[in-house]
């Protein structure tokens, strides 16, 4: 077994309605468990409301999980005190989706890159500057970017700054939450190459969140498919695309628009909408849209079972899946 870095166990997050709104809690995550070996990239894919971002934020405790464990290199992040959490934060960093909203317009890039280092009081002032400048170089931005402001940069360059901010802390673990979704196609490929190169060079352990399956395949070792707060399937990236098992994974892959007329002809379009996470279906959450659903699917939540080594899925209809 590879050296385990992160181990998530039974992670659950319910959002209680607040203020004047009443009604049931939104069950954003239900009983999520998975591992990430050191130096590997695990991808989270799924549609809106599947819980991708909630997992990323719960792991770094940017939001408080309702229950469950997040063991990072032997430390349970969920149980850390405020002080312990701050110390842990330098090891775990987040890259946000929107490079326009996630960078302050009033701070120079240098100050943005050094803010975390300042809060953590890492090294002397000149050490911090050196680390920030090194991070800029890693993301292939010019040196003079240090004294400029975010609005002077394009979307792709800003996303590089967001990556540099995370890397300046010299983290062990990075959550990249849709880091290329806001970028144009030709820029997206540049940032993906950069991110993958840095991840390999620095030996980062990474959780990569995306709704785009092709992007995830390119950057991830293992892929987790989520639907309505539950894991449907986990598999090595190449295996998942070559031999998807869960009916939802298959539908998701087949829904991707493609220039290939043969793939298009075989398409099965899912009917209906994603149910509300405030009121998820009983049993298997996918059963209301599943072409293979039977009565038994409504009675109990299908457990995640390993079908072949490294490839698990939560579906009881495996004899119907060809």
């Amino acid at each position: 077994m590879d050296d385990l870095y992160l181990s998530v166990r039974n992670l659950t997050k319910h959002f209680q309605p607040s203020g004047f709104s009443r009604g049931p809690a939104v069950k954003a995550l239900q009983d999520i468990s998975f591992d990430i070996p050191r130096g590997q990239v695990v991808g989270l894919v799924g549609e809106s409301g599947s819980g991708k971002t909630t997992i990323g934020r719960s792991i770094l405790r940017l939001i408080e999980p309702t229950s469950g464990q997040v063991i990072m290199n032997g430390t349970d992040v969920v149980r850390l005190s405020a002080r312990g959490l701050r110390r842990q934060r330098r090891k775990m960093q987040y890259v946000f989706q929107d490079p326009f909203a996630s960078l302050s317009s009033r701070m120079t890039i240098g100050r943005i890159l050094m803010e975390g280092l300042d809060i953590q009081r890492l090294g002397s002032k000149s050490d911090r500057q050196a680390r920030a400048r090194a991070a800029l170089e890693m993301v292939e931005l010019p040196e003079d970017a240090f004294d400029r402001f975010a609005h002077e940069f394009s979307g792709g360059q800003r996303q590089r700054i967001g990556i540099a901010r995370a890397l300046a802390m010299q983290p062990e673990f990075v959550v990249a939450d849709e880091p290329v979704s806001a970028l144009d196609v030709s820029i997206q490929a540049q940032v993906l190459n950069l991110l993958r190169g840095l991840q390999m060079r620095l030996g980062l352990t990474m959780l990569f969140i995306s709704h785009d399956l092709a992007v995830v395949e390119y950057i991830c070792d293992t892929v987790i498919v989520l639907y309505l707060g539950r894991i449907m399937e986990i598999a090595p990236a190449a295996e998942l695309y070559a031999r998807p098992r869960h009916p939802y994974t298959r539908a998701l892959l087949s829904a991707i628009p493609t220039p290939d007329p043969i793939r298009r002809a075989k398409r099965q379009v899912l009917t209906g909408d994603i149910p509300s996470p405030a009121n998820p279906p009983s049993g298997c959450v996918f059963r209301t849209r599943c072409p293979l659903a039977v009565d038994a699917c409504a009675t109990s939540v299908p457990p995640l079972r390993e079908m072949v080594p490294g490839h698990s899925m939560a579906c009881i209809r495996d004899e119907a899946i060809i």
Binding site: E47, S48, S154, G155, G156, Q157, D184, V185, S186, I187, Q188, A189, Q190, L192, N193, R196, G197, H211, D212, L213, A214, V215, E217, Y218, A237, A238, Y241, A242, A251, L252, L253, S254, A255, I256, P257, T258, P259, D260, R264, R267, V269, L270, T271, D273, I274
Partner: protein, 335 residues
Amino acid sequence: MKDAVLDISGLTTTFTIGGRAIPAVQDLDLAIAAGETVALVGESGSGKSVTSLSIMGLLPRRVGQVAAGSIRLRCKSGQTTSLTGLDPESLRRLRGNDVAMVFQEPMTSLNPVFTVGEQIAEPIRIHLGKSHRSAAADAVRLLGEVGIPDPERRAKQYPHELSGGMRQRVTIAMALACDPQLLIADEPTTALDVTIQAQILTLMAKLQAERSMAVLFITHNLGVVAEIADRVAVMYAGRIVETGPVQDVFDHPRHPYTKGLLRSVPKLGEAAQLKAQGRDLPTIAGNVPSLRHLPPGCAFANRCELATESCRAAVPVLEEVSSGRHARCIRWREV
């Protein structure tokens, strides 16, 4: 094109910013026949949305203006009308009637304080002069046609009570209410999840075939283009750089930008191969030039591997490379 529903010729649209006219679209020719879907693709700032706003007469007042060219629309009456320089009242009679539009964000294009049924009925009453009762019945029928289950109940609901996919179905119903000759869809599936996107694309293809409308489909997603369009026009920095039948352009791109764009989209199943060979995803180096500082020659030259001195000297013309295929590149034979 002979029986074109939409015929744009030499369109140049500029935005006046800080006293300077900045060209957002330059010298654009585009024609769409009845029953045909043409996709306009390009990245941010390429001018695809400005093209659609120019057609609809929705450019921001005093800032954006059609500086040159003509936009002609064949109306339901069979007459051809020039849309440039039309007075606001005549334009209002055309919009939602002969030409309709579906936008990216269904939540912002629907009014939160009216039921969806009322919103679909409104253009029917205004343009077709039907009574409240008859327009309301039409709205329910249209909701059914766009695949909304239980349309009578849904017609009485407000936008916030519907999912994103259903809201987009409602805006499509609204656009189709008066049987337009031309439908402009500006990134209609970009805000939707991929399984819902597949539903909407299937629906649009079906509705278009039934009504033989002309459709101008604006998107940045090349996969979507392949699914929905007959012909494609690729835009870069305000100009069309390549046009032709979709399959033909995708199989044999003749402009270096189109080729680079097609290569830089990650494709399913391709990653394993790249990883095994230790290769990076192909990219287009550099950034899109600012419209304020366009180079004198080809706008793509600074990112192009084939660029020579003559590329930088003058803007290449959109040259016919084969029947129905055009490329704005002097070295298209080598692409």
